[in-house]
């Protein structure tokens, strides 16, 4: 309870806080130059990947500082470092001006840093009070729990920051927004002065987002500092006082939200120094490879995640799906792959109705699949490269003969992929996790291009790979397209989408809201179409 002293001095009751708050705001502005947290040259490496490289970040006290970046850009690793869950290989963390070294989250909490996780960590069957004190229970006489004291303190914090929390309600009766406030209260209870919020809006509906932002503004008014991690640019622009962009593991810019637009931020996030994904002449034929009509995917609560999507992809055509992440792209892909149950009018591949086919049959029938998360869905990280060559193609030549695995066939074909696709590896017996992200991805691309696929589903095919591998993967996609492959391309990289696609569709809240001609669109226009603004397209 040593961290709670500040509360005792700042527990103004809500009715009379207006004036005090304004005063607090003035103080906050006055002290804004003083950094609450400073990260200097943070580098963190994992086998095969550099998660963070030379991160430089200065978070002013009493501000909402947003950190934006694509998935896999290194935001989460950075926050884990700041919260003591990972130790940096190089660099220095300073809190309130003094260097700190965190070994565990407990050290971070002791230094006044609290983390609100994206996925709530609350016990449903306990009350708010019990959840909040769990792990730092106030004691009386050494053993007895002092719930009275805890309840008083929770009320005090809740009132001081206008969180409106009732301590004795079971958590299972609370909605998502309330649960999040309980999570925030939990870290405040432990004395946090600096709050890290990891994608806090991912689980909220729009009006809950507004409430959260009001709460956050209240917190900084009281002098707290907030680190807000997100990839939703419009939200970040609304709430943040300062924005730092992370790309490919490093901080590329810190900007004032007043000076930037969402487009400008997106450019910073994605980067524009990439090699051009531009394709030359059209190779689109008249033969439809994949035809989708009225495909819908529903969440368990009946809400449509993908809502009546229809499209055709012809042989030699790349169809790009643009959209802010989380608008149904992943679900659409999984539905086409037969991984996720869906309602669909018609789903035909090369004229055959595949709606009732299993995933394996769809793969055998000629769908290649580059999954969005290669570590989870695309590879067996602890298995050798040649075993990974078999994955997803375990019933096809040259990997198997009848019920038997054809080791010799799989191994020699893996050597072919390693050579043709320039997978940099000491050999085909090394485990997949030993390879860098780019080489892992080249192996996957080579695997999925094997066996003459009719359709390739490429989900973020160059995410998290280095520039060289990116150019190589684009080359392979172009070559295959020229040879008559139909490609469904999902990407968050607008240049990649515009450059590679023959036609583009924009997915918003699960529905296709716009058809865009990639020949006549700029990333800026596409970006606004993705957020539903739609002007200029």
């Amino acid at each position: 309870m040593v961290y709670s002293h500040y509360l005792l001095s700042s527990h103004q009751g809500t009715p009379l806080t207006q004036a005090l708050r304004e005063e607090g705001a003035v103080i906050a502005t006055a002290t804004a130059t003083e950094p609450a947290v400073e990260l200097i040259g943070i580098t963190k490496r994992f086998p095969g990947v550099v998660a963070n490289r030379d991160i430089r970040l200065r978070v002013a006290k009493g501000r909402i500082h947003a950190i934006v970046g694509e998935n896999g850009a290194g935001k989460s690793t950075l926050m884990k470092i700041l919260y003591g869950m990972q130790r940096p290989d190089e660099g220095e963390i300073r809190v309130d001006g003094s260097a700190v070294g965190f070994h565990t989250p407990a050290d971070a909490i002791a230094a006044g840093i609290g983390m609100v996780h994206q996925h709530f960590m609350l016990a449903d069957n306990l009350t708010v009070l019990e959840n909040v004190v769990l792990g730092s229970e106030p004691r009386r006489g050494g053993v007895a729990l002092d719930f009275g004291e805890a309840r008083r303190k929770i009320k005090e914090i809740s009132d001081a920051y206008g969180l409106g929390i009732r301590p004795d309600v079971p958590v299972e009766e609370l909605g998502v927004g309330d649960r999040q406030r309980v999570e925030i209260l939990k870290v405040l209870y432990r004395g946090a002065r600096i709050l890290i919020l990891d994608e806090p809006t991912a689980v909220l509906v729009p009006h809950e987002v507004e409430e959260l932002f009001d709460n956050l503004r209240g917190l900084v008014h009281e002098g707290l500092t907030i680190l807000f991690i997100s990839h939703k640019l419009d939200e970040v622009l609304r709430v943040a006082d300062e924005i730092t962009v992370i790309r490919r593991g490093t901080t590329v810019a810190t900007v004032d939200p007043k000076d930037v637009t969402a487009r400008k931020l997106a450019e910073l996030m994605v980067g524009s120094e990439l090699p051009s994904p531009e394709t030359r002449e059209s190779t689109v034929t008249d033969v439809v490879a994949l035809s989708v009509r009225d495909l819908s995917v529903r969440a368990s609560d009946g809400r449509a995640i993908v809502d009546g999507v229809s499209f055709d992809i012809r042989k030699g055509e790349v169809l790009g799906i643009a959209g802010v992440e989380g608008n149904g792209q992943a679900e659409l892909v999984e539905a086409i792959m037969g991984i996720r149950p869906c309602e669909v009018g018609t789903l035909t591949l090369g004229g055959a109705d595949i709606a009732h086919w299993s995933t394996l049959r769809r793969r055998t029938g000629g769908i290649g699949y580059i999954p969005e998360d290669r570590h989870r869905h695309g590879l067996l990280l602890e298995s050798s490269l040649w075993e990974n060559r078999i994955l997803g193609h375990q019933n096809q030549k040259p990997n198997s003969k009848g019920i038997w695995i054809d080791r010799a066939g799989a191994r020699s074909d893996t050597r072919r992929i390693v050579e043709q696709y320039d997978v940099r590896t000491p050999g085909i017996d090394v485990v997949a996790s030993a390879l860098s992200g780019g080489n892992q991805q080249k192996l996957i691309v080579g695997r999925e291009m094997s066996g003459d696929p009719v359709l390739l589903i490429a989900s973020h095919p160059t995410r998290g790979v280095d520039v060289g591998a990116q150019a190589a993967i684009w080359d392979h996609l172009r070559t295959a397209r020229a040879a008559g492959l139909a490609v469904l391309l999902i990407s968050a990289d607008l240049d990649e989408l515009i450059g590679l696609s023959d036609s583009l569709k924009v997915l918003l809240r699960g529905a296709i809201v716009a058809d865009v001609d990639p020949a006549n669109v700029t990333p800026e226009q596409l970006g606004s179409a993705m957020t539903g603004a739609g002007e200029g397209v």
């Binding site: 490496r45 994992f46 086998p47 095969g48 990947v49 550099v50 998660a51 963070n52 490289r53 030379d54 998935n71 896999g72 690793t77 884990k80 990972q86 290989d89 994206q118 996925h119 990891d198 991690i229 990839h231 490093t250 901080t251 590329v252 810019a253 810190t254 450019e267 910073l268 524009s272 120094e273 531009e278 992440e325 992943a330 299993s358 995933t359 769809r362 055998t364 999954p371 570590h375 869905h377 695309g378 590879l379 067996l380 990280l381 602890e382 298995s383 994955l391 997803g392 375990q394 198997s400 038997w404 695995i405 485990v431 996790s433 030993a434 280095d466 240049d495 515009i498 700029t522 990333p523």
Partner: protein, 397 residues
């Protein structure tokens, strides 16, 4: 979509993966871990013996002396056969992340039914042997299938259901014997003995003793080879291992995970059904209250010890059997034979810890190596200036 951490996921399986041998350890490390663990277990046991005022060296010497006598060696081999088959049954599930804790109930129920079937002598000679074995496998498979079906249809954890099915199997077995298949001889109730023509003969493998090695040793070896071939050379084995390593990757690759769960449970149960066969067809020829119990749990320990590797589990089964069978001799030295149970427990714990330590050592070494390599070239791969990048050249006019 949630933000996934590509960094930490790289190259590190879960603790469970490592414990169950789904993560491979390279070369000498795979051997070093169990050797360290056994040495450590011997050390702990020595300390316990010293505290109790006994001489550790004398005790180990007695164990070794007794264990290398030909009659004991036969005994060790015979016991190890059952242990090994049990470990295989457990390992099939482990490789796919399925915890078949119910091997114990599966083999006992299988033995009761198979013993009754054999005792009825419906078929002559070798045919009866084959029929008994098939019945045992079928009963074990069916009993395990219940847990598999509950898991895929109702989401019941196989750990819970198999533990409960163990208790039910005990009750069911007792009821079958007392009310249906049992014959009372004196005070002892047992199934009708299997006729002489359906006994599996022993083999005079060990010189210096008239005692015979159980003929099911051959079956155990065949099963070990079959286990290896199935897992490493067949499509089914590939899909099973893929599911065990990463279920999302298996699903994306078109593996029918639900079907795999049921089939794997059935296979595990069928092998479990064989555990009682060496005893039934080569030793006691009937199921009575003296029929060995608890082999299913020993199998779990041995599967952990051998990391589900067919050779590793064979060594584990022999070690376990050696400790179990030579412990009696300690009583001659006035040492409680339970010291062996302590040693077995410490071996399991230290094996798990040793594998974990070895794995971490390897990981850290790998991380350092990568760090050094990546740190070596100066300039990072991409431009990383804090200034805004040039305007996109995306529009291709």
């Amino acid at each position: 979509m949630t933000e996934r951490d590509h960094g930490t996921g790289a190259g590190m399986g879960t603790f469970l993966d490592r414990m169950l041998g789904r993560v491979r350890l390279g070369g000498w490390l795979a051997v070093a871990a169990p050797v360290i663990a056994i040495a450590f277990a011997a050390l702990i046991t020595s300390v316990v013996l010293l505290v109790a005022g006994k001489a550790p060296l004398e005790a180990f010497n007695a164990l070794a002396q007794y264990g290398t006598r030909p009659p004991t060696m036969v005994l060790i081999l015979n016991t190890a056969v059952g242990y090994y088959i049990s470990a295989l049954a457990v390992a099939i599930g482990f490789r796919m992340n399925l915890f078949n804790i119910g091997v114990d109930g599966q083999y006992r129920l299988a033995a009761v039914v198979a013993a009754s079937f054999g005792g009825a002598a419906l078929l002559p000679g070798v045919l009866n042997i084959i029929a008994v074995v098939v019945v045992a496998m079928a009963v074990g498979a069916l009993w395990a299938a219940i847990a598999g079906l509950l898991k895929v249809t109702r989401g019941v954890s196989e750990v819970i259901s198999t533990i409960m099915l163990n208790a039910i199997a005990t009750g069911l077995g007792s009821w079958l014997i007392s009310d249906h298949f049992g014959v009372l001889t004196g005070n002892d109730i047992a199934t009708r003995p299997i006729p002489d023509d359906a006994h599996v003969p022993g083999m005079p493998l060990i010189a210096g003793t008239a005692q015979l090695v159980n003929g099911f040793l051959v079956l155990a070896v065949v099963l070990g080879v079959a286990y290896y071939v199935l897992l490493n050379r067949t499509r089914f084995g590939f899909e099973l291992r893929a599911t065990g390593q990463s279920e999302p990757a298996a699903v994306a690759s078109g593996v029918g995970v639900k079907k795999m769960v049921v089939v794997t449970m059935i296979m595990s149960g069928a092998v479990a059904g064989l555990i009682g066969m060496p005893e039934l067809l080569g030793q006691s020829f009937k199921y009575s209250n003296n029929f060995p119990a608890g082999l299913g749990f020993t199998g779990i320990a041995i599967a952990l010890l051998g990391r589900n590797n067919p050779v590793g589990m064979a060594i584990g089964a022999l070690l376990w059997s050696f400790l179990d069978n030579s412990s009696n001799t300690l009583q001659l030295l006035d040492i409680s034979k339970e010291i062996v149970a302590i040693m077995q427990g410490v071996i399991i714990l230290s094996v798990i810890i040793a594998y974990e330590l070895v794995h971490r050592y390897r990981n850290v070494a790998e991380q350092r190596r990568v760090s050094r390599q990546l740190a070596a070239p100066p300039g990072p791969p991409g431009p990383a200036g804090p200034s805004a990048p040039p305007a996109p050249e995306g529009a291709r006019a």
